[in-house]
Symmetry: C2
Subunit: 601 residues, 2 copies
C-alpha cells in the first residue's frame, strides 16, 4: 500500500503467536472458522481499509459534517461504506446465526476494527454504532423490533446510535431527564433532548434508529429509573412506510478532530409525537447498556491504538527518508547528513510510539479473546473471564486513549515543523486521538470505576484472577534467561501495586470514600502501566518462542525490534510507577482540602 497505517505482520503475530486465538477454533461456536478463513477475513478488511477508507481520511477531515437545519450533511462516501459494511456482513459479524450473524470471534473482529480505525477512524464508527445498537435490540428487544428495525439496520441502510448523554447528564447518567409516557398503544411518548450523539443524524442513512435511555413517568430517580427505548427518526407505519417520528436534529458540534463523524444534538417530542418502543423491561435500561459497555469501551481503546498506529507509521516512514544532522561524534559538516532515524532521540520517540501501539493492541486482542472465552464457557469458568474483563476494561479503554495523545504528539515531533502542518497527516491523528479520553466514560470516570468498583467487586475476586494470570506469564517468561530480569521487574511492580492498592483499600475500610477515590485517575494510570508491562512480557515470551524457529531477514528484524520495544517499555515506561506510587501512598487529601474559592485570583 502507498501509505502504511498498520502492520499486518504485527497484527497476525499478536493474534496467533501472542494470544493464540487459533485455540478458540476448537470450540463448537467458532468451528466454522480456521486459520485460513481468519487470514481471509483480515485480507478483506485490509482491502477495504486501503482502497476505500484511507483515501477518504484527509478529505473527511477537511470537509466536516454541516448542519442543514434539519439534518447533518456528511461525506457522500459514508453511504457506500455503510452499505458495503452491511453487504460484507461486517455489521453483524459477531452476532450468532439466529441473529443473522457469522459468530465471528471478537478477537478477530477487533483485529479488523483495528485495521479500519487505523485507516479512517471517523468512517469506521458509522457501522460500529449500528452494530452496537442492533445488538441491543437482538439481545433484549421483541421479535417485532428485531424484524422491523434490527434487520434493516444491519444492512447498513439505517444508522444506529447509542443515545445516552443529555445537556445536564453527561458523566452523571443518573440525571437523565428524557421522559417516556406510556400509552395504551404499545409505545411510549418520548420527550426530551440528547446531545453529543455520535452519528445522531445524517443524510447518508435512510433512517436513524436511536437506542435511547429515558425515564418512564413515575420511575425511580437515578440510574435505577432508566429504561431503554428504540426511538427511530422515522417510524414504520403498519403498511411499512416511513413516517417522521418527531426526532429533531437540533444541530451538530464542530470538533477539534474526529471530524468525519457527526456529533448531533437531538430534540424529541417537539410536536408531542415521538414514539419510543421499550426494549426489555422498564428500569433495566442501564443494565442493558452496561452489557454493551465493555465492548464499546474496548472499541474506544482499539480506536485510540489504531490512530496511534497510523501516526507511528507516518512518523517511521518520514524518519527513514528525512536526512538531518550527523552522528554526535561526527564533526565534519561536509559529510552527508544522515536519516534522522539514526539519531538516538528519534529512535526513543519511535520506540515509545511502538510500545504504546503494540502494547495496546496486544491488550485489545486479549480483551476480545476474554469476551470470546466467556461466550464459549459457562459457570465458574465463564465468571472467571467476565471478572477479568470487568477489571481490565477501564485500563483497556484508558491506556490507549491517554497514551494515544502522547503517541500522536510524538509522531508530530518526529516530523518537526512538517508534523505541525496540515500538509502531513500526523497533526490530524493527534486531533482525532484527543476524543478518546472523553467519550464512553471520561478517564476520571474510568479511574473511579477501576478503584471504586472493579478492584473491590466480589471481595477482590477479579484482582485475584488477574494476579494469577500475570503469575502464569512471569513463570513462563522466567524460563528464558533473556526475559527473567523483566519477569522480576514485573513481579516487583506487582508488589508495589499490591502495597498501593492495600493502602487505598485501608482508607476505604475506614469509610473515607472521598479520600479513597481522590487520586483514582492516577491509580488508573499506575495500574495501566503495569498491565501494559504484563502485555509486553507476554509478547516477549512469544518472540522467544518464535526465535527458536531461527527466523531470518525481515522476520528476524521484527523479532529483534519487538524485543527492543519490550525492553524500552520496561526501561522507560515502567519506572514511571515509582513517581506515581509516591503520590498514591500519600493520603494527605490535598485535592479534597483545596477549596474552590482558593482558585480565585
Amino acid at each position: 500500500m502507498a501509505e502504511k497505517f498498520f502492520s499486518e505482520k504485527n497484527l497476525k503475530f499478536t493474534l496467533y503467536d501472542v494470544h493464540n486465538v487459533e485455540s478458540l477454533l476448537k470450540h463448537e461456536r467458532f468451528s466454522d472458522y480456521n486459520k485460513e478463513s481468519f487470514d481471509m477475513v483480515l485480507d478483506t478488511a485490509k482491502n477495504i481499509a486501503v482502497n476505500f477508507m484511507y483515501p477518504l481520511y484527509s478529505e473527511m477531515d477537511k470537509n466536516p459534517p454541516e448542519y442543514t437545519g434539519s439534518t447533518i450533511k456528511v461525506n457522500k462516501a459514508v453511504k457506500e461504506y455503510m452499505l458495503t459494511s452491511g453487504e460484507g456482513g461486517w455489521i453483524n459479524a459477531t452476532f450468532p446465526p439466529e441473529h443473522g450473524g457469522q459468530q465471528m470471534p471478537l478477537s478477530l473482529f477487533n483485529a479488523c476494527m483495528f485495521i479500519f480505525a487505523s485507516a479512517n477512524y471517523s468512517l469506521s464508527v458509522y457501522p460500529g454504532l449500528i452494530s452496537g445498537a442492533a445488538s441491543l435490540i437482538y439481545n433484549y428487544g421483541t421479535e417485532e423490533l428485531q424484524k422491523k428495525y434490527a434487520e434493516v439496520m444491519v444492512t447498513g441502510r439505517w444508522q444506529g446510535t447509542m443515545a445516552l448523554t443529555e445537556p445536564e447528564a453527561g458523566s452523571s447518567l443518573s440525571d437523565v431527564k428524557t421522559s417516556a409516557t406510556p400509552t395504551d398503544k404499545g409505545y411510549y411518548l418520548i420527550d426530551g433532548a440528547k446531545t453529543f450523539i455520535s452519528a445522531g443524524d445524517h443524510d447518508n442513512a435512510e433512517n436513524i434508529v436511536h437506542l435511547m435511555l429515558a425515564r418512564v413517568k413515575g420511575a425511580p430517580a437515578g440510574v435505577k429509573g432508566l429504561s431503554l427505548f428504540v426511538v427511530p427518526k422515522y417510524r414504520l407505519t403498519e403498511s411499512g412506510a416511513l413516517e417522521f417520528n418527531d426526532v429533531n436534529c437540533a444541530g451538530c458540534y464542530h470538533k477539534m478532530g474526529y471530524r468525519g463523524a457527526p456529533i448531533a444534538q437531538l430534540s424529541m417530542g417537539e410536536s408531542d409525537d415521538c414514539r419510543g418502543y421499550l426494549v426489555g423491561k422498564e428500569n433495566m435500561g442501564l443494565t442493558y447498556m452496561f452489557l454493551m459497555m465493555n465492548e464499546a469501551r474496548i472499541n474506544v481503546g482499539l480506536g485510540a491504538a489504531a490512530i496511534a498506529s497510523a501516526a507511528y507509521y507516518s512518523a517511521l516512514e518520514y524518519t527513514k527518508e528525512r536526512t538531518q544532522g550527523r552522528n554526535s561524534l561526527e564533526k565534519d559538516p561536509l559529510k552527508p547528513q544522515i536519516p534522522i532515524i539514526e539519531h538516538a532521540d528519534i529512535k526513543r520517540m519511535l520506540l515509545q510510539q511502538r510500545a504504546i501501539v503494540e502494547g495496546s493492541l496486544s491488550l485489545m486482542v486479549y480483551a476480545g479473546k476474554l469476551v470470546d472465552l466467556s461466550r464459549i464457557s459457562s459457570g465458574e469458568e465463564k465468571e472467571h473471564y467476565e471478572l477479568l474483563l470487568e477489571l481490565l476494561t477501564p485500563i483497556v479503554k484508558t491506556y490507549p486513549s491517554e497514551m494515544g495523545i502522547v503517541s500522536t504528539s510524538l509522531a508530530i515531533q518526529c516530523l518537526g515543523g512538517y508534523g505541525y502542518s496540515s500538509e502531513f497527516p500526523v497533526e490530524q491523528y493527534m486531533r482525532d486521538a484527543r476524543i478518546h479520553p472523553i467519550h464512553e466514560g471520561t478517564t476520571g470516570i474510568q479511574g473511579m470505576d477501576l478503584l471504586g468498583r472493579k478492584v473491590t467487586m466480589k471481595k477482590g475476586a477479579a484482582v485475584k484472577i488477574y494476579l494469577d494470570e500475570i503469575k502464569k506469564t512471569t513463570d513462563e517468561a522466567s524460563l528464558y534467561s533473556d526475559l527473567k530480569p523483566y519477569a522480576t521487574q514485573l513481579n516487583d511492580a506487582l508488589t508495589l501495586w499490591k502495597t498501593v492498592t492495600n493502602g487505598l483499600l485501608g482508607i476505604a475500610a475506614k469509610g473515607e470514600i472521598d479520600l479513597f477515590l481522590a487520586d483514582a485517575t492516577l491509580y488508573l494510570e499506575f495500574s495501566g502501566i503495569i498491565c501494559l508491562a504484563w502485555q509486553w512480557l507476554i509478547q516477549g515470551t512469544a518472540v522467544l518462542k518464535m526465535i527458536q524457529n531461527s527466523p531470518s531477514g525481515s522476520d528476524l528484524n521484527f523479532a529483534e525490534g519487538k524485543l527492543f520495544t519490550m525492553r524500552y517499555f520496561f526501561e522507560y515506561e515502567l519506572p514511571k510507577i515509582h513517581g506515581l506510587s509516591i503520590r498514591l501512598k500519600n493520603a494527605d487529601g490535598l485535592t479534597l482540602k483545596m477549596k474552590p474559592e482558593f482558585f480565585e485570583d
Copy 2:
C-alpha cells in the same frame, strides 16, 4: 473583562512579591521607571489585550492565512495591530534610547508579552518578530541599515523576520545552503530557499525585512561559515522608493494551530537580483543570532505558558458553572448536582494547570530579570547572570512548551465533550500550544544543549551558580515551618539531580558522547521538574511573607490557593523525577543499539 485569560493579581504578585523586579529600579538604566509606571504599562497592555487582541482570537483561527500566489493574505486587523504596537512603543520598548527605545526592563516587558500572548498568541508574534529583527540590526548593523530599515520596522509598517530554516537545514543549521555572492556595489547577491519563516510574507506590511543566514561564497562549511544579512522583500532605492528585491513567497503552510500567523516558504534570487546587506562581519552570523536566541527562547516559553494560562482560565470558569454529579458520599439522586469544581479529580486537573502556568510564569519573569541584571552589571557579576541564564534557557524554553500541551489538554478534559468542540476555545489552545516544542529549537535540541553544552560549560560554572541560587531559596524557605518539608524535598531532589548528572558526566569523560547524550531529552525533563519545584518554593516563600500582613478576602484565597498549588507541585509533579532518574542512571544504550532495520515489520 468578559473572558479571563490571565490573572493580573498573579502577574503582579510574580513581578513584585516573588521576583522583586522593583529592585531593578535603583539602577540608573531603569531610573525612568517606578512602580506606578510599571503598573501603567501593565494596564495599557491589558487594555490592548482585552479590547483588541482577544476578540480576534477565534476569528484568526477560523480564517487562516492563505497564499495568493505572490504573498499571503492575513487578517486585516494585523496591520492595525502592528501600527498600534509601533505607535505605542512596544516594538522597541526594551531598546536603549540611542536606538529609539524606552529601555524597559525585560522582566516587565515579558509580563506584557505574557498578557498579549494569552489574549492572542498568533497576533502577538508579528511585532515580536519585528522586535527581534530590528534589535539585530541595531546591535550589529551599520548606521545606514539602522536608518534605512530598523527605524521603519519599529514603526510597525514593515515586518521583520528571522530567516534561518531551509528545507534541508532545520535542526541542523550547519547545512544552510543559501548563498551570498559579494559584489563590488556593497551588497551581496542572495540565492536560495528558506522555509517555515514566521510572518515570512504577508499583505499587511508594506515591506518584509528578513534577517537571514546565508553562506558567503568560499566561506567555511558548517556553522562557522554562516553570515547574517538584511534581505528585504523590497529594497530602498537611492531615491527612497521601494523596489522588488527578488524575494519570492513560494507558499505558506496550513497548520494545526497558531493559525493566525503565516509561516512562509521563500525563494530568493529567482531573477538573480536579490540583494543582501551584510550585518556585522562575515561568518559571524550564528554568533549574532545566538545572542538573540536566549530571548527568542524565553519568548517561546512565555508564549506556551500564556496559552496554557488562557486555557486554564477557560477551564476554571467552566468548572465553576457546570454542574454534574454529586459528592461520592451522596447517594440521593434527587439532590441537586454540584459544580464540577467540587470534584477532587477536577480540582486535581485545575491544580495541575495552575502549577504549570504559574510555575512557568515565575520562571519566565526570573529569566527576564536575569537579562536585566546582566545588562546593569559588569565583570564577574555580569558573567554570573549570563551563565545562569544560559543554563536555564533550555528549561525556560521547554518546560512550558511540553507541559503546555499537557495543560491545555487538561483544560479540554475539564470541559469534556464541550472541550473537544470548536464552539469552546480550549481545543484551539491545545492546537496552538503544540507548536512550541518544535520552533526555536526542538525539545530534542534543547536537551542536548542543556546536557551537552550548558551543564559542562566553563567546567560546570553555571551549575555551581544555579545550585548556590537554589540553596539561597531553600535556606530562606527553611525558616518557615510550613515550607521546611518542601525545602527538604527540593534538597533531596537536588541530591538526586547531582547523582544523575555526575553519572552522565562520567560517561562523557570516557568519551562515549553518543551514550552520554542518548537520553538528553529525558534529562531535560528531569531537570525541568526540579527547576520548577525551585520556582514554586520561591513563590511559597513570597506567600508566607505576604501572609504576615494578614491578608483577607480574595487576597487570602489567593494566598491559600498559591500554597495549595505549591504543595500540589511537590506532591504530584516532583515525584516524577524518581521514575526518570531510574532511566537516567541506566546507561544500557538501548536506543543506540536499536537498529533502524529493527523497525521493519
